[in-house]
């Protein structure tokens, strides 16, 4: 265990508490709590959380995620979502109104990116396009980060993402699985900002530093 201002880095098997405590990324052995991951420890009065530096996405119900259509296999589309197993978008999960299946096939082509919601996690992960925000993503660029760092990119109450969107005039959509879709003129700048967040997500005062970076980059952008 190593302490620095604001956060504690732990390795697998670090002793976190001498009593049984609830939390994520921890396990209990002989009435003591140990860490499961190499990551950062967050403590509160009744809960311990270890956030790993790298982690694959674990689907949860009502998560908004971005995925890529792999193929159509009646009656579902297979969607790649950067998780161990693919997700499935059934035809019943698509609002059809008056469209026929043939028309749907013309819209949902393999290789297309979707912003959708996880409707069910059981034997299979099922997606739904019926929620209000769900849509087919046309154009734009894709960036990847680790799912554990998504909360930092969004910021407190969406503060970070609002700053990025307002300052760069780009449209940014973040999936809980760590895939980010960016559309606009300054997509490269946004990707650079996201990479910085990915690298320094665990150091406090991130929003201020990112705001400074955007201002600097925008100045250079204006000169060119």
């Amino acid at each position: 265990m190593e302490k620095k201002q604001g956060y504690v880095t732990v390795t697998p098997g670090s002793l976190l508490a001498t009593s049984e405590k609830r939390g994520e990324g921890v396990y209990i052995l002989n009435k003591k709590t140990y860490s499961k991951f190499f990551g950062i420890l967050k403590k509160s009065d009744y809960k311990l959380t270890v956030i790993p530096f790298t982690q694959s996405y674990k689907p949860g119900r009502e998560d908004k995620i971005i995925g890529k259509i792999k193929e159509f296999n009646y009656p579902f589309f297979v969607i790649e979502i950067e998780a161990p197993n693919p997700a499935y978008l059934y035809l019943s999960g698509i609002p059809t109104y008056n469209t026929t299946q043939e028309q749907l096939m013309k819209i949902y082509k393999p290789g297309l990116w979707l912003y959708s919601e996880v409707s069910e996690v059981s034997d299979r992960v099922k997606l739904s396009m019926k929620s209000r925000e769900a849509k087919v993503l046309k154009g734009g660029r894709i960036a990847y980060i680790y799912p554990s760092k998504v909360p930092r990119v969004v910021g407190k109450g969406g503060s970070m993402i609002k700053t990025i969107q307002n300052k760069t005039n780009c449209q940014v959509l973040i999936g809980q699985n760590g895939i980010i879709w960016i559309n606009g003129d300054k997509t490269e700048l946004v990707i650079r900002i996201i990479q910085k967040i990915d690298k320094e997500a665990h150091i406090s005062g991130l929003t201020d530093r990112v705001t400074k970076l955007i201002d600097e980059e925008l100045e250079q952008y204006g000169k060119n």
Partner: protein
């Protein structure tokens, strides 16, 4: 012709004491395309481990509904030994792969990822005794970097008997000319022995002493692994 002595005045051929490890070195995240990778070297033995997954299981019938499937591939590269090693799988590499698989099965919390597969590839770049120990140490580091839930960092090292003296971390000539070689893998947290192999003959008391010696070495290696991981993170921040 008389044999040269391996231990003179309590010092070994490479100027080590009898209970001293060779020089340890580790490098982390050496491959960008994998989730976690690590190089671990003990003296002239170098092992590189890469971790892929958790991912879809193929073929499907190997899938387990309750836990992840672990696949370990240990491989000695052709240039790792003095004489060229034939590439491909041999009897020896298959045995060591299965032995390492049994060690890691007890360390990784496989229940967290049902219906998936985790693959660990281990390559030996240079072999100078106790390659399986270096392989386990490298795999342990690579797994923790890949964000795979583990009970603890597993450490492994060998001990042996040469010229009626018990020594830690056999190397070079000691491996071929020594009387006993005993590699172990040890989980310091639960005080469990996960790997125990031995060739040669030992008295019961000697075996106890040798085990204690090997455990001591494993604890040192475990501390080294923890230090490497923590240093790696703080170096990234300073960049």
């Amino acid at each position: 012709m008389e044999k040269t002595k391996l231990i003179v005045d309590g010092k070994r051929e490479d100027n080590r004491k009898t209970d001293e490890l060779r020089k340890l070195r580790a490098e982390l995240n050496i491959s960008k395309s994998t989730k976690g990778s690590a190089m671990f070297s003990v003296g002239n033995t170098i092992a590189v481990a890469t971790v892929y997954g958790p991912m879809e299981v193929f073929p499907r019938f190997l899938e387990d509904n309750n836990k992840a499937v672990l696949e370990v591939k240990y491989h000695m590269l052709p240039f790792s030994t003095d004489e060229r090693n034939r590439p491909g799988f041999s009897r020896r590499s298959t045995e060591i792969s299965s032995v390492i698989n049994r060690v890691l099965e007890n360390v990784i919390l496989l229940e967290d990822f049902p219906k998936t597969k985790i693959t660990v590839n281990i390559d030996i770049l240079s072999a100078d005794a106790s390659t399986r120990c270096a392989a386990i140490n490298a795999a342990s580091l690579a797994l923790s970097l890949a964000g795979i839930p583990m009970k603890d960092l597993v450490a492994s090292c060998s001990a042996g008997k040469i010229e009626n003296t018990l020594v830690l971390d056999v190397a070079g000539k000691e491996d071929t000319e020594g009387e006993v070689d005993l590699p172990i893998a040890y989980l310091p947290l639960t005080d469990e022995i996960l790997l125990l192999q031995m060739d040669g003959i030992l008295k019961k008391e000697e075996f106890g002493k040798l085990m204690e010696l090997a455990k001591k070495g494993c604890k040192q290696i475990c501390e080294f692994q923890k230090k490497t991981l923590l240093d790696f993170k703080s170096n990234l921040e300073n960049e």
